[in-house]
């Protein structure tokens, strides 16, 4: 019997399941002694408001330049908590593994999760593992849920963009989406592009501390990219927004791949970026805070919130023309000629 592969029996709840949990998953992922296993994690209750979120990760390929599905699953949920200005505390992890998946690869993914969780200062406190027959899932799917403490009283949410606000981003657009696409499609260009997958809670804590009430809104522009996120916010806050194309920070390699494939970096996914809507007088502080942080060296102010109430998003193009910006429709597809 091949001892290197995940078998259906590893998800049966029986002896093999226990073996997998005791020997691999629990020690690697949580550092908790197997003996401490119970049906649920007991947590010391935090006083005040809590933020609670969940996200599922099905990225293909599971290993990509700059990360794995494991680190992505931690960063994604940590960032969703951070965008409410919450301090992430605890995560749960649900694994759905395809029969025949390599244990060595599973170990790499779990180690990457652990590293990401340690880096973000969050504890993985509970989890579940299922194995499905070959072909019923694609290698491995991960669901993480997270709880964070909201230790501020600011109205940081999607409806809080105000006319005059300046939109600041902590770095380049589209790195994650292009890194994954280059990995998935075996492209011969753009192989040096790394995903930006990272936990943003540290940067958010700095912004909260320095900006206080001048910080109105935080959102991470993941799927659909910056364009889709900005359009969502314009609609939710009932404001008009103007972006300045010239100010958009874009890694030249990402720009090159996008040009070749006919993609628009404005619509490409990010996993380590946040958009901060700040009062105009606080822009310089916001940029300084970001640029001091390792995840914000390429921070830039990319747009402003206008007086309108129609939810319109416009972009002043590099040549000084104006055009509309809308949400991503369907999926971005490479062009034909």
């Amino acid at each position: 019997m091949n001892n290197d592969l995940i078998l259906l029996g590893h998800g049966s709840g029986g002896r093999l399941s226990h073996q997998l949990l005791d020997e691999l998953i629990i020690p690697v992922i949580s550092g908790v002694a197997p003996a401490a296993q119970n049906d649920a994690a007991l947590l010391e209750s935090a006083s005040g408001r809590l933020a609670f979120t969940t996200d599922s990760f099905v990225v293909d390929p599971v290993f990509f330049p700059g990360g794995t599905i494991g680190s992505l699953a931690v960063h994604g949920t940590v960032n969703d908590l951070a965008m409410m200005g919450a301090r992430p505390l605890w995560l749960s992890v649900g694994l759905i593994i395809e029969e025949g998946f390599s244990k060595a690869d599973l170990r790499i993914i779990l180690e990457d999760m652990r590293k990401a969780a340690d880096g973000a200062g969050v504890a993985i406190v509970t989890g579940d593992t299922k194995v499905v027959p070959r072909g019923k899932a694609d290698k491995i799917f991960i669901t993480t849920s997270g709880i964070g403490a909201v230790e501020h009283t600011l109205p940081i949410h999607g409806a809080n963009a105000r006319p005059g606000d300046v939109i600041v981003i902590n770095g380049t657009l589209g790195d994650h989406g292009i890194a994954v696409m280059a990995g998935r499609e075996g492209l011969e260009v753009g192989t040096e592009i790394q995903s930006d997958s990272a936990a943003l809670n540290g940067l958010v804590a700095d912004l909260l501390a320095e900006l206080g009430p001048a910080l109105h809104l935080l959102r991470d522009p993941t799927r659909g990219g910056v364009a889709t996120t900005i359009k969502e916010i314009a609609t939710q806050s009932a404001v008009d927004i103007t972006l300045h194309e010239e100010e958009l920070p874009i890694n030249p390699a990402v720009r090159g791949v996008c040009a070749i494939l006919g993609l628009d970096p404005l619509f490409v996914a990010n996993e380590g970026k946040l958009l901060a809507f700040v009062s105009p007088e606080a822009v310089d502080t916001a940029l300084a805070v970001m640029r001091k942080h390792p995840l914000g060296m390429n921070a830039a102010a990319i747009g402003v919130v206008e007086n309108g109430t129609a939810g319109r998003v416009q972009m002043e193009t590099v040549i000084g023309g104006m055009r509309a910006v809308d949400m991503l429709s369907g999926e971005q597809l490479p062009r034909i000629c």
Partner: protein
């Protein structure tokens, strides 16, 4: 980025805009210039070029998107070959959402058909090599830019002795529809921004017969905003001097003769044929069929594709959009019944479609 940033320079483009305003003051009546390349259409919308032009210089989008001009009957044939689960359908991404009479490739994929997006026809040949028990049907849609690469894929399949690779072709060639549109008094086209990529293959000389016949200015123009603006300047200059000739603005990529090697490969595998264009109808000699010598790679001959007559939504006005007679914004379906998610016509879903560009960048 080299060869890109130089042509997106704000000061340069603003200067050109000022010059165009200046020239336009001397026009007796408004002029319509048509671009016949989907990448131009996209670039014009993406950079907001119309917002930089005076009112009497109008840009009209023509039939420059190969996916959009593909008749529904072709899409139905592609869907029929996808319905045979022994086949793998290989296609560029643009075709995925194009509506056929009853379905689209995307819907068929969701229903279990094996449809793969490729970035190059050679990837489709590799698929055939790696799946010897299946047949790979490549959807060959495009103009002269794409056709040589598809011809090369067939020659490569010959070399590899493959008997499970074939191409369902709907190739179109460029100057012919421009002839039809120029002669249309309703459109009143006063100049062409001729396609960039297509012209790298066919060369600037290909437009000379058109210029001689209609005395219409033609400028082969690149895709970057400064290219498009300069192309417009050159067209205006010809009109103001009462001239009509072919000029090549995009001289960093296009020659008068074109690319003889690409032309040779194209002619080795393909032969001109009559072709149906969506919106324009049957245009003699405007398509490319696979030569008899390569019949075993021609999906039309290899597969028995018997599809019923195509059904086109009678409310769809893509035809008029493709001819430049209807602006997307004036189509009653635009952004209502017809969106990228619920497309009625191909112009809304192809990445180079006029309606897709107007929906994404223009509203």
């Amino acid at each position: 980025m080299k060869f890109q940033d130089e042509f997106r320079d704000r000061a340069l483009v603003q200067n050109m805009a000022a010059n165009i305003y200046h020239m336009a003051e001397r026009l007796q009546s408004p002029v319509n210039f048509m671009e016949v390349c989907g990448t131009h259409t996209m670039s014009i919308y993406q950079y907001g070029i119309r917002s930089l032009l005076p009112e009497n210089v109008r840009l009209v989008s023509g039939p420059g998107c190969p996916v959009c001009v593909t008749p529904i009957g072709y899409v139905d044939k592609a869907l029929a070959s996808a319905a045979d689960l022994r086949n793998i359908i290989a296609t560029f991404g643009d075709m995925l959402r194009v509506p056929g009479s009853n379905s689209s490739l995307m819907e068929m994929r969701a229903g279990g058909a094996d449809i793969r997006i490729v970035y190059s026809p050679l990837d489709a040949v590799a698929l055939a090599q790696n799946n010897p028990e299946r047949r790979v049907v490549f959807l060959g849609v495009g103009f002269e830019t794409t056709a040589p690469t598809i011809a090369a894929s067939i020659l490569h399949a010959v070399q590899l002795n493959l008997n499970n690779y074939c191409v369902l072709t709907a190739h179109k060639t460029m100057p012919v529809p421009m002839d039809i549109l120029t002669g249309d008094p309703e459109l009143n086209i006063r100049g062409y921004l001729c396609p960039a990529h297509v012209s790298t293959v066919i060369g600037g000389n290909a437009y000379k017969p058109l210029v001689e016949k209609y005395k219409i200015p033609c400028v082969v123009t690149g895709f970057e905003p400064a290219d498009v603006m300069q192309g417009i300047e050159m067209l205006l200059a010809q009109i103001l001097r009462s001239e009509s000739r072919v000029e090549i603005q995009y001289s960093r990529a296009v020659s008068w003769e074109g690319n003889p090697k690409a032309q040779a490969i194209l002619n080795q595998v393909f032969v001109p044929c009559n072709a149906v264009w969506r919106g324009l109808g049957m245009l003699p000699g405007s398509g490319l069929a696979i030569r008899k010598e390569y019949a075993s790679f021609d999906a039309e001959r290899v597969l028995e594709l018997d599809v019923p007559e195509a059904f086109e939504n009678p409310a769809c006005r893509c035809g008029e959009v493709l001819k430049g007679k209807l602006s997307p914004f004036d189509c009653p379906l635009f952004a209502g019944a017809c969106t990228p998610e619920t497309a009625v016509g191909a112009c809304m879903v192809s990445s180079e479609g006029t309606c897709a560009a107007a929906y994404k960048y223009g509203r």
